[in-house]
Each structure stands twice: as structure tokens, then as C-alpha cells.
Symmetry: C2
């Protein structure tokens, strides 16, 4: 079976067999199939699509292209979560401590930010000393002993996905639902997940701009999960405005800590409780969602969730005094509060513009490997639907460069739309 024949079959809208997909992924991973053949194949997949069966075979081939994590001796059931990425999405920082506090041990491998979307690891590294490079042995030991792990993906998991993603990034083949779904699911399966909560975000601050696309991606990943023998719950959540108020690494850690202590923005708290509840049900901690919500709420109320966050930070080498005294976290030199230029209702707060301006300030990366500034970012003090009076605090910009501050200010003001009548509030979840 030659690589070019597999490319031609997909080019001609054929359905690839499991053998063909395995041959292609194995060859690519080993370096026997060169990048240019994979690039042509990826473009053919993007333009001609893949059936759910093909996508599942691709997912499994990539999942088993390197080492896999077997958590069967470590936890009763390995529950994982994944967010498709957005602006101000610090959910993992709250959900993991909450579920751990409720008796469901969770070990998660997260990613870094790229483009307008922030990354969980970048946020955690705002805390001095926090390590995101645990070895597989460290991962297992910590999960067994502490019941909570939050680290980066170790290099030997799903290497085919890493190689393919890097290639897709430079060949215009990122925006393919089968390739996106296979990428996400292969990493989760390689990391040992038996049950997964998938939070697919939709809106102008998400990779899936329309609800239809998000629904299709969610459905595809659920189907892959079923075909691959994994339990999958999918959520479709809104990303038309930032989640919570804060966008930026240390700023989001502060907001997560506030939420773990019972405060924080209402939308973000609600979002976290919902995700945590799904995980608790999947993990067989409780029977139904209502009981799970109540359990998660209690874990926050009585301080156990916050305590779990301290355990996590300490276990991974972080200086826990920064958790206890978040004022110690990196703080930007220029902090400018911007007042509302008018009175009215907020009808739109474009999440993507906030994400992009956070990158301009230095909170994110335009390119892989770029350094980031943990201190900088944005805080928007209201949500869509709020009534704001002229002169009220509207947003606060945290910058380490006065010029950049002045660059982002008009863009942010332009990304906020007003109306005279109260607009409908945005839903947290669509389905």
C-alpha cells in the first residue's frame, strides 16, 4: 500500500479503510511518509471530509501512535475534561479542585495558549515554581497520593497528533472538523481517559464561530467516543463574551481563587459547577446532576475545593503563599481603569477582540514558543445585558507598556456595543 494511493483515494472522495489509515498514521509518525504527502492528504481530508468511522480510526491510530497512559491501577474511573478554547476560560483551575474535593480524583494534561485563546498551563505558571512538566511516573504517583494533577502533555503521548497539528498549522488545514475532532480525542484517549466532558465553545471568541459548527464538532466527538468505547458528555457553551471578568494569566488565577473561595463572577461560577457536576456523574460519585451540583456547591462553600487547589499547587512545586495571598502574584506596571463613556445597556462584548488585545499586551502568543507576560491582561467589569451609567468602571487594562495600553484601549472600546433597551442576556450553555 503506497502513501500516494491513500492520498488519491481520499482525493477521489473514497472512504479509507482502517488499514489504510493505520498505515498512513504509522508511516507519518515514523517519518517514512514525508510531510508533503501528509500535507496533500490533509488538504484532501479538509475538502472531501471523512466519515465518523474514518475519523474514529484516525483518532485511535493517533492515540496509539506512541505511549499511552494506563490509569486503571491508579483511579477507579479516569474522567477528563476538555474545552475547545476561548477567552477568559479558566474553568479547569476551579473544576479540578472541586471534583477532587468531592472524592473524584482527576489528573489532567492541559495545553498552552495560542492566538486569541488562552492556555491553562500559562495561567498556572503565574504561580512561581509551579511545574507543568511532570513525568508519567510523577503524574501517576501524584494522582494516586493527592487525587489531583494538572500538567502539560508529556512528549511521548500521541506523537502523530503533535506532528500532524504542526503541519496543519502551516498548510491551511486546521479548520477540518474530522481533523479537529481526531486531534482532541486522540490526546484524551492516549492520556487514559475513560469518560470525558467536552465543552465545545461557540461564538466570536471560539474556534467554532457558529452554533451549527460547534454542534457538528460535539456530535462527531461524541460519536468517536462511542465508537472507541469511551463515555462522552458534550456541552455547547457561549463564547460571545469573555467567560468571567478577567482575561490574562495572573488575573485569571486571582479570579479562579476568588471563585474557589465562594466569590467570583456569577457566570463563571455557574459554568464551573455545571462542568464539575457532569464529571461527578460520569465518575459515579453521585447518581444524578442535581446531587452533583449540590455536592460541588458544598465543596466550595466549606473551603475543601480551595484546599484542593493549595494541594495541587504545593504538589507541583508552586509557592503556595501566592495562593494564600494572591496580591503577591505578578502585577503589571500600568493599571488603568476605563470609565463608561456613556450610559446604556451593554449589548455586546466581543470576546475575540478581548482575546486578541490580551495577546497584544503580552498575555498570549502570536506564535508557538513566544514568551508571555503573566501580569498583563484585561478585566471587564460587566456582562452583556448589564445597565451601566456614564462614568462607571467599565474595564481595567493591566499593561507593562504604555504604548500597547494606548493601542488596545480604542479597540476594546470599539468591541463593546451599547443599546438603549435591555438586550437579552447571553446563555451560558446552548444545549
Amino acid at each position: 500500500m503506497r502513501a500516494v494511493d491513500i492520498i488519491v483515494k481520499k482525493r477521489d472522495k473514497g472512504e479509507l479503510t482502517r488499514d489504510e489509515i493505520n498505515t498512513f498514521v504509522t508511516g507519518f509518525t515514523r517519518g517514512d511518509i514525508p510531510d508533503y504527502q501528509v500535507a496533500a492528504w490533509a488538504m484532501a481530508v479538509l475538502l472531501n471530509g471523512m466519515t465518523p468511522r474514518e475519523t474514529t480510526d484516525l483518532t485511535l491510530a493517533m492515540a496509539f501512535s506512541g505511549q499511552t497512559l494506563d490509569l486503571s491501577g491508579v483511579v477507579d474511573i479516569a474522567v477528563d475534561k476538555h474545552s475547545s478554547g476561548g477567552v477568559g476560560d479558566k474553568t479547569t483551575l476551579v473544576v479540578l479542585p472541586v471534583t477532587a474535593a468531592c472524592g473524584l480524583p482527576v489528573g489532567k494534561m492541559s495545553g498552552r495558549g495560542l492566538g486569541f485563546s488562552g492556555g491553562t498551563l500559562d495561567k498556572m505558571e503565574s504561580i512561581p515554581g509551579y511545574r507543568c512538566d511532570l513525568t508519567t511516573d510523577e503524574f501517576k504517583t501524584q494522582l494516586k497520593e493527592k487525587g489531583i494533577v494538572l500538567t502539560g502533555q508529556t512528549l511521548d503521548l500521541a506523537p502523530a497528533d503533535g506532528k500532524l497539528y504542526a503541519l496543519r498549522d502551516v498548510t491551511g488545514t486546521v479548520q477540518s472538523l474530522p481533523l479537529i475532532a481526531a486531534s482532541i480525542m486522540s490526546k484524551k484517549i492516549a492520556a487514559g481517559a475513560q469518560a470525558i466532558v467536552l465543552d465545545v465553545k461557540t461564538g466570536n471568541g471560539a474556534f467554532m464561530a457558529t452554533l451549527e459548527q460547534a454542534r457538528e464538532l460535539a456530535g462527531l466527538m461524541k460519536l468517536i467516543g462511542e465508537l472507541a468505547g469511551r463515555e462522552v458528555v458534550t456541552l455547547l457553551s457561549d463564547m460571545n463574551q469573555p467567560l468571567g471578568f478577567a482575561v490574562g494569566n495572573a488575573l485569571e488565577v486571582v479570579e479562579a481563587i476568588e471563585t474557589l473561595q465562594g466569590g467570583g463572577p456569577g457566570d463563571f461560577r455557574e459554568h464551573c459547577l455545571h462542568v464539575a457536576a457532569q464529571m461527578l456523574v460520569l465518575g459515579r460519585v453521585v447518581q444524578d446532576e442535581a446531587a452533583a451540583r449540590s455536592l460541588a456547591g458544598q465543596a466550595i462553600a466549606d473551603g475543601r475545593a480551595f484546599q484542593q487547589f493549595r494541594v495541587l499547587v504545593e504538589a507541583q512545586g508552586g509557592d503556595v503563599s501566592y495562593v494564600d495571598t494572591p496580591q503577591k502574584l505578578p502585577r503589571a506596571e500600568f493599571v488603568q481603569m476605563v470609565e463608561a463613556p456613556r450610559s446604556g445597556y451593554l449589548s455586546q462584548i466581543e470576546a475575540r477582540a478581548f482575546g486578541e488585545m490580551a495577546v497584544v499586551l503580552g498575555a498570549g502568543r502570536a506564535r508557538k514558543g513566544d514568551p508571555i507576560d503573566h501580569a498583563v491582561g484585561l478585566v471587564i467589569h460587566h456582562k452583556v445585558g448589564d445597565r451601566v451609567e456614564k462614568g462607571d468602571p467599565l474595564l481595567t487594562i493591566h499593561a507593562n507598556d504604555q504604548e500597547k495600553l494606548e493601542e488596545v484601549l480604542p479597540v476594546l472600546l470599539g468591541a463593546i456595543k451599547w443599546s438603549e433597551q435591555a438586550p437579552p442576556r447571553l446563555p451560558l450553555f446552548y444545549e
Copy 2:
């Protein structure tokens, strides 16, 4: 302008600007744009197409990606011909001497055989000493002094086409009409052609299997020629049965010599006269096709065309005694005449099977760079529509390996179909 943005534009069915195409071709030629980006782009072009304007810009960008041949001081009008490739297509060996004998100097760069399709250079190299590697200076000098040149493409012409073709070959992106048309036309333009006769072959022994595809390719190349300021005449010719009787290098040289001496198969002679006539009209030697046909016929009849072939062979270092005594040309060890197994009319002689079996015998290459055997090949003694009696000579196999001879025999017999009633003869040209 980033390469990935150009890929994405074509992926999304956009029309690339001349600047974008120039940037892409220049970047690829220089090595600034890596193979994997070009491969993804080529697949997007194959699946989403290109407008004639885009294809023309691509053609010109590739034509001027390296050195170009300027024949303005060498000939009054540079007329070239191109065949899209077929089985038994030794047309150039006859047409060049004929046009040269009629007073139209012609310098042509030809290619080698690949797959079932033979190559002009391989045929000429059956003649010991014949050089296909003339330098540009040698090309010009010989064209000026002798009025006839037939050599290989020098390396510095249209390098972008060479690189792109090699990549298309291994990424399933050969079968794209815009890329095929741009490849052919860029080489012709780089080689200095001002007027071109394009012989697009169609049928089971051609790259364009259907008349519709062939017509589309011909139309596209004519349009490119017009947009690029070149005169183009397109012919659509049949390739459902081999052209002439002989398939194989030395065997075809013998057939070409016979034709130049006034003999040879009727279909092949007619084909050559038609192509030569088009060139003579394009070259302003005569006003109309009828006069051109008559002139070409005379050049064969009075021996001037054959004399020009001798001039060509001698000029390029070939041993002209092989032209005068074709029996000296390489001859296979096993020559087996196969008798007709039945009586009836020949209704089909599948050209592709003959081409493929010639490759099996060693007359062609499965892969670029494979060695070839000039002696071996096939001679079919009849054309579709002929009445043949059981026991009549049907075909002759020339092999240097008894096993291969026995391998090809049943395939060839299976590729010949019979009927009780006289079937219609195949046309030489469709339009």
C-alpha cells in the same frame, strides 16, 4: 503575504491574484516555501480548480522561474509542437525532418517515457552516439546552422515546473487540468516557442481518457497561449489503438525511417503530415493547410525529409550508418510472431495494454531513472477495422527475456477484441 494565506485562499475557492501566484512560485523555486505547503496548495488547486487567468499567470510564473531560451536572433518564428503522450507516438521523428525540409527550421526539446507512454529521447537514443544533452549554446548554433534540433530539456529552463511536477507525482496531484496545462505551456514558453501545435491525445492509451477531458485541456492550453501572446493550434487525436504498428524504441525508429522514405503505416504517415502542415502554416511557410500538406508530401517523396533526419542524427553525434542500415539497430534475442487465433474483424486494440506490456518487456520505465532496453517492443500488424484470417500474422513480440515474452503474450491477446461484422474504423483526429 504568507504562503499559508495563499493556500487558505485557494482552499476556500478564492481566485488567486497574479501577485499571489508569483510569490508562491518564486518562493517555491527558491526553496523559501517548503514542499509541504506546495503539496497542500496543489491538492487545493486540484480539488477547487483555477480560472484560465490564474492558470495563465501560473504558466508564466513557472516559464520565467529560471532561464529562458530566446530564439529571436536564430529563427524568424519559433514553432514548436507538443504531444500529450501516447503509445507508439514517434511523430516528432518524422515531423521535424519534414518541416525542416520544407524550409521551417525547428528546434525541439523532448522528454523521456514514463509509465505506458514512450519518450522521444529514448527512441532517438536507440541510435548509438546520439546526444540528448545539448547545451543552450549548442542548441542555438545547431538550429541556425542545420535548421533542426531534437534534444532534452536543459536543466535551467522552467525549474519551478520540474520541482512541482516531481512533487505532484508523489502527492496524487498529477490529474489537475490547470496544473497539466501550466506544466506543458510553461516549458514551451521557456523554450522560446512563439507558435505551438498541441496534439492532445484521447483514449485508453492517453492520459486524457475521455474526449471531453482532452477537449477541456486543449481549450485551456489554447486560452493560455492567447493570454500569453502565443499562437496555438490544438489537435485532438485518437489514442485508443497504438499509433502506427510499432511500440518500442528501436522498432519505432525503424518505422519512422520507413515513413520518411515514403512507406510506413498509413495512419502514422497521415498523422505526421497533418501535424507538419499545421506547423508549416504557423511558421508562415505557406498560406493554407492544403498547400502545406502538398509541400510536406513532396519533401517525403523526393527524399529531402529523410536527408534532414540524417542531418539531425549526424549533428548530434549519432552514427548515421544506423539510419542508412536500420537492420543494425538493437535487435531483441527472442522475436516471436503470433498468429491470429481466429478469423474476424479487429474491433479493439487497447493501446494502454500495449504500452504497459512494452514497459514489462523493458522498453519503458515504471520509475524515473530506470534503465530501458532499446531493442524490445511490440509490432501489431493490423489496425482496428481490418479483416484478419485465422493463422495470419497478428503481432510480433520482441523480447530479451523468454519469461517476459510469455508473460505479455496472453495480456496482448486479451487486449485485442474481435467482431463478426466490420466495425467502424477509428478516426485519426476528432476535431
